[in-house]
Symmetry: C2
Subunit: 191 residues, 2 copies
């Protein structure tokens, strides 16, 4: 008779999947689990999502979009010293990665062929880093400098979240050392 109204939404599904991801890792993101969270039966999910792989890709894209918002809010003022602005971006990323560790781990994970959506969103998120790097080393050297900085921050946080720093010593100090060494060093190399 009358068409039944939608009982859930793609956004609610992605949110439920992301919650399950953070609670129990990728294996915990089952179609049955997601369906139960949004109050629907598993087959209904396929009206909003192609399959489980596409759902995980949507979760990664969602996380990258959120990171983009976080970083644009942490880029500081154009008048501030670029070294300080870069440090602000680095700390904002680390705080984000601690808040959403499993989603952060998916940002640069290989999700199979044809999955550029998360990478494009991540590239958008990296925009402020390139901008501030341009202030630090000039427009020509901005891209490689941003790549170096992003690599360090991403690598450090993934190792940290994986529990790879187990030999003692202050992990905070090591992060600070990396940020300041790169900010100063990149400026000097370009200058």
């Amino acid at each position: 008779m009358s068409p039944t109204p939608a009982r859930t939404s793609r956004a609610a599904i992605v949110r439920a999947a992301r919650d399950l991801l953070e609670e129990g890792g990728p294996d915990a993101v089952t179609m049955a689990g997601v369906a139960a969270r949004v109050g629907v039966r598993p087959p209904s999910l396929y009206k909003r999502v192609r399959d489980r792989a596409a759902l995980l890709e949507a979760v990664a894209t969602d996380a990258a979009d959120e990171l983009a918002t976080v970083l644009s809010g942490a880029a500081g003022e154009p008048g501030d010293p670029p070294e300080e602005r870069l440090a602000g971006l680095a700390h904002a990323y680390r705080a984000y990665a601690r808040r959403s560790p499993r989603a952060a781990a998916m940002l640069f994970m290989d999700l199979g062929p044809g999955t550029h959506a998360p990478l494009e969103a991540a590239a958008r998120a990296a925009r402020p880093v390139v901008d501030v790097a341009a202030d630090l080393v000039g427009p020509d050297a901005a891209l490689p400098a941003a790549r170096v900085l992003t690599s360090f921050v991403h690598g450090f946080t993934s190792m940290e979240l994986a529990g790879a720093f187990r030999l003692g010593g202050s992990v905070d100090d090591a992060f600070e050392l990396g940020v300041t060494t790169l900010a100063r060093g990149l400026r000097d190399v370009a200058g």
Copy 2:
């Protein structure tokens, strides 16, 4: 009657799993696929391996052990300048990550609670980095310096292998920039 002789080995199983991983990603590592490769039926695998998760953990540990061999062979001579020795280690890691991209991605991946085996093997692999870092910045600052260097190299290679560097420019040059900036910068910070 007479006990049947072993028709495969744990090493062969791990090797087959690692091959499948590199060919098709984690999803391609099925117990049936591994069993077929080693010429046995799936239930027989459980004589050598607790379950699939333990098999993947063994693959990661195997890859980390191989990395340890690669890096100790690339640490250079004690007489060489530490900056050059660090660059050699960085390039050796990158070459290894390109040869075994999916296994490298598993090195610092969260494999669930109680899976320190790969992390311990990775720590062993990082030993030469700490040693050379000590030559560069002294024994007290060696650990944080090694953490910074390892984070950069790991982060850069994972982003590279995920296809995250899509804005043009020379990726090789960016890697070189990171390595030299860190080697010089860390030395100056400590000095």
